[in-house]
């Protein structure tokens, strides 16, 4: 389904906005205002492309890279939320909000959540829904055994699920070329009896197209798809962890820029001009600036959104 003019502009707004928010969050980490962030710079077009393709009632298991962009693109999660969540003053993008798009909780071990996503697809099919589950993971997680088992199970049962591998070329320090002897990850799909597609993960429109086809296929009962979105990781694995790449390699990683690619595409189609893009950017910058100001001014006043006693926390161990 082709996006109309209004949707394309909205997509650009979401992409430029989540890029700027992610940039700001990454900078705040570098300055030491925040800590521990796993920067998603370079991953934005994957989240936005898929975010525009899924329905609100499709269940999305987000990753720690593109999750924020995806939540923002789906709606109901503002740039302000994205920034304030880093200060503990807004819910995380992983949280299921009342009436918000359907999400699935995060798990701290990469790849471990993929069987769970398959189970959600099984539950939806069992209940006769026409929803699709989309599960994100990285090139590193792709080598975990649980991911293999999950994809095999999904293939055998022709489940309504889309697997999205965000291949940014590195698992912390391990280059993809050393982590797999295969040329790509998409070709693994053949072993599970499902189509595998490689897409330029910096190209939001291409990601949208591939995701739309995979979702339609799943919704029609024709089974899962493996999507490999290839990108470059702009930043180190996480704030505070050295990147083994040279300065030249780091600079090279930033050449492919999803926001620029979409802007150029929309300008070429005559849907956007430099002035309109600048106006959008000004709105984005203002929203992020205000959120940063609010976050930093109240950070020390209340470090936690809802302080909890250890006893109250322990009471949450069992339902």
């Amino acid at each position: 389904m082709a996006l109309n003019e209004e949707q394309l502009i909205a997509m650009y707004r979401a992409l430029a906005g989540s890029r700027s928010a992610e940039h700001e969050i990454t900078e705040l980490n570098k300055q030491g205002v925040l800590s521990g962030h796993h920067s998603g710079l370079g991953h934005e077009a994957i989240g936005v492309g898929v975010g525009f393709a899924v329905r609100p009632d499709d269940c999305v298991q987000m990753s720690h890279r593109s999750g924020m962009m995806l939540a923002h693109a789906r709606g109901g999660y503002s740039l302000s939320d994205a920034v304030l969540s880093q200060f503990g003053q807004a819910p995380s993008h992983y949280a299921q909000t009342e009436g918000g798009p359907r999400t699935c909780s995060i798990v701290g071990l990469v790849g471990t959540w993929v069987p769970m996503s398959v189970g959600i697809a099984m539950a939806d099919r069992f209940r006769g829904k026409d929803t699709v589950t989309v599960t994100f993971f990285g090139d590193g997680a792709a080598n975990e055994g649980a991911v293999h088992e999950a994809m095999n199970l999904a293939g055998t049962r022709r489940l309504p699920i889309v697997f999205v591998i965000e291949n940014n070329g590195f698992a912390v320090s391990m280059p993809t070329s050393e982590a797999t002897a295969a040329e790509d990850f998409a070709s693994r799909a053949a072993g599970y009896g499902m189509p595998g597609v490689t897409v330029d993960g910096h190209d939001a429109l291409a990601v949208y197209e591939v995701a739309t086809q995979a979702l339609a296929r799943a919704r029609a009962g024709r089974g899962p798809t493996l999507v490999e979105a290839v990108i470059t990781r702009w930043e180190p694995h996480a704030q505070g962890i050295a990147d083994l790449r040279s300065a030249e390699e780091m600079a090279e990683a930033r050449i492919r820029d999803g926001a620029q690619i979409l802007r150029a595409a929309l300008i070429e189609r005559g849907l956007l001009d430099e002035a309109a893009a600048a106006a959008i950017q000004a709105q984005i910058d203002e929203e992020i600036r205000a959120a940063c100001e609010q976050g930093q001014s109240t950070k020390h006043a209340s470090a936690e959104p809802a302080p909890m006693t250890p006893e109250a926390a322990a009471a949450l161990t069992y339902a």
């Binding site: 949280a95 299921q96 699935c104 909780s105 798990v107 701290g108 071990l109 471990t112 959540w113 993929v114 069987p115 769970m116 996503s117 398959v118 189970g119 959600i120 697809a121 099984m122 539950a123 939806d124 069992f126 209940r127 055994g145 649980a146 088992e149 999950a150 095999n152 199970l153 055998t156 926390a313 949450l316 161990t317 069992y318 339902a319």
Partner: protein
Amino acid sequence: MTETLYIQAINQALHEEMERDAEVIVIGLDVARQGGLFGATRKLYDRFGADRVIDTPISEAGFTGAAIGMAMEGMRPVVEIQFADFVTVAFDQLSTVAAKMHFMTRGATHVPLVVRMPYGVNVSGEGYMTGAGPHHSQSPENWFCHVAGLKVVMPSSPADALGLLKSAIRDENPVMFFEQKGLYYTSRAEIPDGEHLVPLGRAQVKRTGSDVTVIATGAMVMQAIAVAEKLDADGISLEIVDPRTLVPLDRETILTSVAKTGRAVITHEAPATAGFGAEISAVIAEHGFADLKAPIRRVCALDMPVPPGSMVRATMPTQGRIEAAVRELL
């Protein structure tokens, strides 16, 4: 009252709960047409069909994780791990995902999951699976007792197998359900007519006595009762306590019994070191020390892999070893 085998009780619990709730499903290896390797899921496939009795490829992490996803959506999956030993490859799913979901989501999501695990050695001398070796005979219940967020259940009789499994399926938490596979075809006893539920977290005094409390789990309950009957002739009176649920543990019943007898022997099939007996022993030492007239004794398997064949008998907690431990305390 109907006389029923332990395995029939498991099968009956599954039938009853699947009849009661259309979102109870069974998933695992060979559970559908085969009816389970041991026969615990017999006839479920014929009655409830392929949507609710699901055979999977050999991939314990995959199908256990899938069951967790279904449970998070509000279904009530019952996973069969063909041998409890095989759960190692699904441990990440249970410990990382299932056990912590309610906590991590501040209660927004929970995981009403049951994982059935046939475990242990057949110590009865009847039936089969006497010595199935290191990879098909272990009693790994203590691994799960250490993971907050999981419940751990070990029925020792057909009636408890029925009543505890039904309660486990209705529980809102992930429940690790350890079925002593040596009992499957050797433990036959009466079960109550009608709906029979045994609440989780409640121990049972299987036999009252006054001299020594024997706290026994799984197959060791029957062994302890046999010892008690033998020692009666010598005027030694044993009280047998079966915790039935290890997590949450009914401390009160154990401590009340030890307060009465002043002596405790703990017996289980798993090796002694860091086994669940250590936890029970610590509970008694911390909360019942003043009642003790003698040291606590543990009668467990030796700290070694379960050996194949008949050698296993020499490594297991036997009636003779339980009796010796009891006599030592008097």
